[in-house]
Point group: C3
Chain length 357, copies 3
């Protein structure tokens, strides 16, 4: 399996190669070894191959540095080699931070797509700013406004009257219905749907349902990330609101009129029912289900797979279970649940004694 190369040719002409000297300049490090050695991909130290750049941050991995075939390894200033090392070293204040900075820089270079494809459909009344990338087969509706430095990948659908703020990135095949707002510096991953109808139906006397028109919208504030194939429904009336800094993982369901507070983080496959308000700085695990029309206080943490059936008013509460309650109590109860067969045996025994008495 030789497929783990991460730095890759961008085109046949433009290969992403860097010398140790270039990298040392970028991360303000000192070279030990050959400054002209070239790398064109990144690797973990335990998997490093010739031509790759790696780093050593966790002391548990120190022994790998004597075996690694990586051409360059970033190490901390105070690292002391106990044996010979083949790789060129670059010494920095903090190896992990330096490496993370490199990743970021590299990613920015690689993802710096620009230009407007000629294979798009854009309304005459739509506008976009400078330095945008609009990929093939993108569709942008009437009166939509796309800010500066926005990237819209192929097959994305932007309805009418949509606004997308500066520096946001919309990956491939995202569907944004009409009348929705996305702030600045947002990332929306492939296949996400923003602004589909809330699930509202009025039961009729003969058991069928009439649709309740869903004419609100979705407002997504700045610095929000939305995962692949996540769905966010428009409000029945008013707005479904995702406050600034919220991070949503993949395959999450956000129902109509939900509001999620600043910097709340939600893991994959969680679902939030209609009109629920979630506070700021919450951490919600994966596959959590939250009932509609409740509120959850700031800073609440909810364990994965929990079910929330009522409001949580205590700030910073940590809860688990379906329905969920305090996590440490839950865990005690669950230990006893596992033990129920023995508990019932003890009960049987007592009854025998008692009956025998």
């Amino acid at each position: 399996m030789k497929r783990k190369r991460i730095f890759v040719k961008k085109t046949n002409e433009q290969r992403m190669e860097f010398t140790a000297k270039q990298i040392a300049n970028l991360i303000e490090g000192q070279i030990e070894g050959n400054p002209d050695v070239i790398v064109d991909n990144l690797s973990k130290i335990e998997e490093g191959e010739s031509g790759s750049l790696s780093f050593l941050a966790n002391p548990k991995y120190t022994h790998y540095i004597y075996q690694t075939k990586a051409s360059i390894v970033i190490v901390s200033k105070d690292f002391k080699a106990e044996k010979a090392i083949n790789a060129t070293l670059i010494r920095v204040e903090d190896a992990y931070t330096a490496f993370a900075k490199l990743l970021e820089t590299y990613n920015q270079i690689k993802q710096n797509k620009t230009g407007i494809s000629s294979n798009i459909s854009i309304s005459k009344t739509a506008k976009y700013g400078t330095d945008c990338y609009i990929g093939d087969f993108v569709c942008i509706g009437d009166n939509s406004k796309i800010g500066n430095n926005v990237k819209i990948y192929p097959h994305s659908y932007i309805g009418d009257n949509v606004s997308i703020g500066d520096n946001s990135c919309i990956y491939a095949g995202v569907k944004i219905y009409s009348d929705n707002w996305i702030g600045k510096n947002c990332t929306v991953h492939a296949g996400a749907v923003i602004g589909s109808d809330g699930f509202g139906f009025a039961p009729q006397s003969d058991n069928h349902y009439n649709k309740v028109a869903q004419i609100g919208n979705v407002i997504i504030e700045d610095n929000v990330e939305i995962g692949s194939n996540t769905t966010i429904d428009r409000a029945t009336l008013g707005s479904t609101i995702i406050r600034k800094g919220v991070k949503l993982d993949n395959l999450i369901q956000i129902a109509h009129n939900v509001e999620i507070g600043e910097n709340t983080v939600i893991a994959a496959q969680t679902g939030i029912s209609g009109s629920t308000k979630i506070g700021k700085n919450c951490m919600i695990g994966g596959q959590v289900g939250i009932i509609g029309h409740i509120m959850i206080a700031d800073g609440v943490k909810i364990a994965a797979q929990s079910g929330i059936g009522g409001s949580i008013k205590q700030e910073g509460a940590i809860i688990q279970g379906s329905p969920a309650f305090d996590i440490s109590t839950y865990r005690k109860s669950y230990v006893h649940f596992r033990n129920l067969p023995k508990i019932v045996e003890r009960l049987n025994e007592l009854e025998k004694k008692s009956g025998g008495a």
Copy 2:
């Protein structure tokens, strides 16, 4: 945050504005105040701004009518003002019903897209009726038949031999595989997939699996709504069937050969395994999992996050848990589950007494 405007310009030329007089005509109401005041968006009464139309239906919200900046408020015939009101009032029999009718009308105007884009790929053997909207980059395969007044939004894929009935709406990026049938008056939200292969694999002696060909199809009857990114697999043989009036929320999984009865409603992220038959008029909560090859009687209600491991033969049963059983029994058991640490203490105490005896 001034982004909650719902009525919006359709193009620079055509602004959606209405006078109190026009609205009163539409909902057969009587005006109290300025009949010429103009609104161009809707609002909740507690958030109403100048230029917006609101309504007062819930008595709890009555006090807002004296403060609201909404230009028009729809109220019930018998509403009696106790203070001065700035807004123009429109009196009707039932304020909520009148407002809902307005929403519906507004929505119909707004969503009344028509016309066939020139950026589509449609087979010579495909047919479509009158008054259709077929958006940019739509793809329609051989022999497919699209009825009258059908709307197909951009990036939707309609395979070969697909049939879509009159008045149905297929939102952006829906994928309908070949040979599937969709009835009249259906709505399929963005990113839904209809007719992908059932999950059928035959285990082989060396632990790998051979695919079982999935050559059935999906039949969706009239008046069905299907949520965003929901997936409905084709039958191995025969049909996966969604009966008329069924409402499916977002991110639901319907496996091969499932049948869902008339007017059953299913909330988001629920999954139904292969060959299970669900009755009519059922209500199934979110994140429910239902095993394959069982049947569920008519009118059954299943609480969110429940797991159904066997047939439910009792009509109208209400159940919860994983595996699920009668909901009131479940709730009693769960109260005791939360209490298990105390129950075990009581048992310890009894044993001490008993052992000491």
Copy 3:
């Protein structure tokens, strides 16, 4: 409801019709009845209509053969009719195997799309092999390599530096980010997303999060099937790896740096958190949640809706619950859980006795 026809016209000119003689040749069977009778669709024996082909494998269904209107029925060599049968019979060694072979053949004919649409966007530096199908509005980025006999359905997005092996099939609207690898003989169903960013954010002192650049990729080995709207995130560094023969159902979430071993099968809506390694030949039910940074041994079976909170080191373990433990113990505990109200009554009774003593 006459919509269950499976064999359908491909175009007005080319109808998929077969005589009993043609079918008997294909499955090496012997005809009893009219060899010239024509069928153009398949049916279950209990639903068979004139012009359809059916089969009898399960003895429970034997009585249907005397009533069925199917024109041809495949039966086993040793089937003995007890009454008159209208259908033409084709006798074979094993009716089910023969029918499955027919399905497979039929499916291959039907799905044998070829040709490169002129409505695509393909980079000059991308390459594809012989006998490919590339559908309308497909987008293929720089340096991507598509093997021989690969089918890419409409609206699929293939980023830069992607590799897709021979004989793989990418259905409509699949989104494959840059730098990802897909092996030979793979099937990726509609709407699946491969290679979106892992969910990695570094908390900052003021409660907001900085994104951690996700620059690894996804490697999918040979013979893998991926369900509709399933999402597989790229590794932070290195690769998220799906080993050969893995079968993933719909709406599954695979987080960054996960590795799934050979021939493991996972049912719909399951989620696997970051950096978890799953062994080979595992069977994982639907809606299971697996925490990050753990390992699961080979051959482990996990019941639907279970939650896995720690490593499972025992090969072949069968577990259930959230958190999950041994399935037979779980089931015993759950029986007692259902019984908790009675258990508590017994405890009350004992305490009364004990207190009264």
